[in-house]
């Protein structure tokens, strides 16, 4: 069995190689991220069965925890790292042809480092190490948002950077307080000792850490940066930010709340926050006329839905929430990648300018439709079983409160359906006078899109393929004592 440290070390080493390869040949440098992602995908998928039996704990440097930094490769971490590698793989194939402006070697290095940061966050078992990898993720996303150097991108990057820096300041203050209180940084040993400290003293660092991470996770009052950043970045980066970065932020919040603090009193608050985020995101998305901004707001809505599902904190709801997370990543990757070439061909990001593009780019448009249907939750796509699981789990909680919340979630879904149908209508059913020739996206872009589309359909038809792994990921989150035991022995 390979050490999970390789999941971070090998892509990181390859990322340091990209500029060196780039000195020799700029063309060759574009393929390094593909290799790194493929490696991570294979290793993560091979480790998942082991991790379901027993979480793999790797101690850095050979010291014993809590004195070393540990990597905790449980089912949850490995599923997410496989998802990151998959999305990175698909997007980096697409980027080979799509990214042709600016210093492309720097783009590919930053892109790979962003994925390294995300992988580190989902695997680490140390709160300060989480902060460090979080910064890698954030700083490379600031730089990539500004990559094109146009007005919108620069402004969005500046806003994103300021808000992100405040967030990481809060996070670091929280970590400092927590270290002062517990005398340790290892998440398992914090979890073991947090019960013996006064409630107020624990609440303050927890609030600081959640607020700090919440900026990146785009939870409702902290998400002002997101629509600009996601809509101004190059489409490949929008896909990764939307499909990976905010999910990783959400993972960090969930990990901190569930495993580190075991804060069951926070959960109801997070359920409300999730519902609120969902409704705000979907309503704002409905009001947009720019297709990329619409997708960005839709990401806020989806994050709200995932937060809602996970915070219900029953085994079924967490599994549903994680399934929704996977669905969202796959769908958003397809949507942003498809939209990338649609915008390129039509020359504008307005929804109205996409009219009739279904005739010019039928395959890309069909991929867009599949992903949109999946996000809305229509069968036979992956979004249907995931949304169904969430709704069923929420209703099973019982009580009028959850029925109301489920109703609100369904309202959100209806709004989501409405704005996606509006776009689909523009793409296919609006008539344009002239007869434009067919002009598809290049094959290098279509292949990755179609691979994910096939995955979306396969998961929709046969969801049982991953529900087993998701259930054990859910129990990893719910059983704190088991987490502490497997790290500290």
């Amino acid at each position: 069995m390979v050490s999970p440290a390789l999941l971070v070390a090998v892509p990181l080493g390859l990322a340091f190689c990209v500029p060196l390869v780039g000195l020799a040949s700029r063309k060759a440098a574009r393929f390094v991220p593909i290799v790194a992602c493929l490696f991570n995908l294979i290793v993560s998928l091979r480790l998942i069965p082991h991790a379901i039996e027993q979480p793999i704990v790797a101690n850095m440097g050979g010291f014993t925890p809590p004195f070393s930094i540990t990597l905790f490769a449980g089912p949850l971490g490995l599923i997410l790292s496989a998802l990151i590698a998959l999305a990175g793989f698909v997007v980096s194939i697409y980027a080979v042809a799509y990214i042709d402006k600016g210093s492309t070697t720097r783009y590919h290095t930053l892109f790979l480092l962003l994925l390294v940061g995300a992988t580190g966050v989902v695997l680490t078992g140390d709160i300060f190490n989480l902060f460090v990898f979080f910064e890698i993720l954030c700083i490379s996303s600031y730089a990539l948002v500004a990559y094109l150097g146009d007005r919108g991108g620069l402004e969005a990057a500046a806003k994103y950077l300021i808000q992100g820096a405040i967030g990481s300041g809060l996070l670091l203050t929280g970590i400092g307080l927590l270290y002062g209180l517990t005398g340790t940084l290892n998440m398992a040993s914090i979890a073991a000792s947090v019960g013996s400290i006064g409630t107020v003293s624990v609440f303050v660092p927890m609030a600081l850490i959640i607020a700090g991470l919440g900026v990146e996770a785009a939870i409702f009052p902290l998400n002002a940066w997101l629509p600009d950043a996601h809509s101004s970045a190059p489409s490949t980066i929008s896909a990764i930010l939307s499909g990976i970065a905010i999910e990783v932020g959400l993972y960090a919040v969930v990990r901190v709340v569930f495993t580190m603090f075991g804060a069951s009193s926070m959960l109801l608050f997070l359920v409300f926050l999730g519902t609120l985020t969902l409704l705000v995101g979907e309503m704002c998305a409905f009001a947009q006329s720019n297709v990329k901004r619409m997708l960005a707001y839709s990401s806020i809505g989806q994050i709200g839905l995932i937060l809602f599902a996970i915070s219900i904190a029953s085994s079924a709801s967490i599994a549903g929430g994680l399934f929704q997370l996977i669905t969202h990543t796959l769908s958003k990757v397809v949507l942003f990648l498809a939209v990338g070439y649609m915008i390129y061909r039509s020359g504008s990001t307005e929804i109205s300018s996409l009219e009739g593009i279904g005739k010019r780019m039928p395959v890309t448009s069909m991929a867009f439709v599949v992903a949109a249907f999946s996000l809305v939750g229509l069968p036979p796509f992956a979004g249907f079983p995931s949304k169904f699981m969430i709704v069923r789990a929420a209703v099973a909680e019982g009580g009028a409160l959850f029925l109301v919340l489920v109703a609100l979630v369904l309202v959100g879904t209806v709004i989501e359906g409405a704005y996606f149908f509006r776009v689909i209508q523009a793409i296919f059913f609006k008539k344009r006078d002239e007869k434009p020739a067919r002009h598809e996206a290049p094959v290098a872009a279509l292949v990755p899109i179609l691979v994910v589309v096939v995955l979306i359909i396969a998961l929709g038809v046969y969801p049982d393929a991953i529900t087993g792994a998701l259930n054990s990921a859910a129990s990893e989150l719910l059983e704190r004592a088991h987490y502490v035991r497997s790290v500290l022995g």
Binding site: A9, G62, F63, V132, A143, A146, N186
Partner: protein, 228 residues
């Protein structure tokens, strides 16, 4: 309006932190992982400087992430400033004074030497790769202030950055291969305490970090100065 809102928000946050701080008394002895590091740091890593033992020994993985953060920022800065190289009119360069010119030529090698000293002695005395790297970068800053003609070659500095990071990762992987299956484990003999050739891989890693940080910070200055 915005200022008032900010102050109210900060007051609430400050009150909460103040309450939590009552449980973290200033200057009192605390029982945490720090005691273990002080007690066992010398024999487990061979570094006389316990802070270095923690930074490059126990928490070397953090440090790997940290050099990556700086790498990301230097690259990102380069990418942002390089994007759409519009009109690149040459800016007028006022000549530096004779004192600065001569001084910078004289001081440059001395500062470089001092920087190398700082990062090579990180396991013995205060200092290390980051401080030494910053000193090296300040030598380049002086070069930019003094002799206007001399420039860092961005190709070479990028290569140094990437190689420094690569050395760190490869040392970690060698540790994984021969050091009992642990990434970043100290596989070299730790030697006698308080000598230059002690603490196993720590001086090697700190030297790599020193070169890397120095070239990254020099590259940041270069990118901003040359930006047109």
């Amino acid at each position: 309006m915005r200022t008032v809102f900010a102050i109210v928000l900060l007051a609430v946050v400050g009150l909460g932190i103040g309450l939590a701080l009552l449980d973290v008394p200033f200057g009192a002895p605390k029982t945490g992982i720090g005691d273990y590091y002080i007690e066992h740091g010398r024999e487990e890593t061979g570094a006389a400087n316990t802070v270095t033992a923690v930074v490059v020994g126990y928490r070397a993985f953090d440090t790997l992430g940290e050099v990556t953060v700086l790498f990301v920022a230097a690259l990102g800065l380069g990418a942002v400033l390089a994007a759409t190289g519009g009109g690149s009119e040459k800016r007028e360069v006022e000549p530096a004074s004779l004192v600065l010119l001569t001084g910078s030529r004289f001081l440059f090698p001395l500062i470089m030497l001092f920087g190398a000293y700082v990062f090579l002695h990180g396991h013995l005395t205060p200092g290390g790769g980051f401080q030494g790297g910053a000193v090296v970068a300040s030598a380049f800053l002086l070069l930019y202030l003094g002799s206007r003609g001399r420039r860092v070659s961005r190709t070479w500095s990028t290569a140094t950055e990437a190689l420094g990071g690569l050395v760190f990762v490869v040392l970690g992987l060698v540790g994984l291969a021969v050091g009992g299956g642990y990434f970043l484990s100290n596989f070299m003999p730790t030697g006698a305490l308080n000598t230059l050739l002690s603490a196993g891989v720590i001086p090697v890693i700190y030297a790599a970090i020193g070169f890397k940080v120095g070239s990254e910070l020099a590259g940041v200055i270069h990118d901003l100065v040359e930006e047109t």
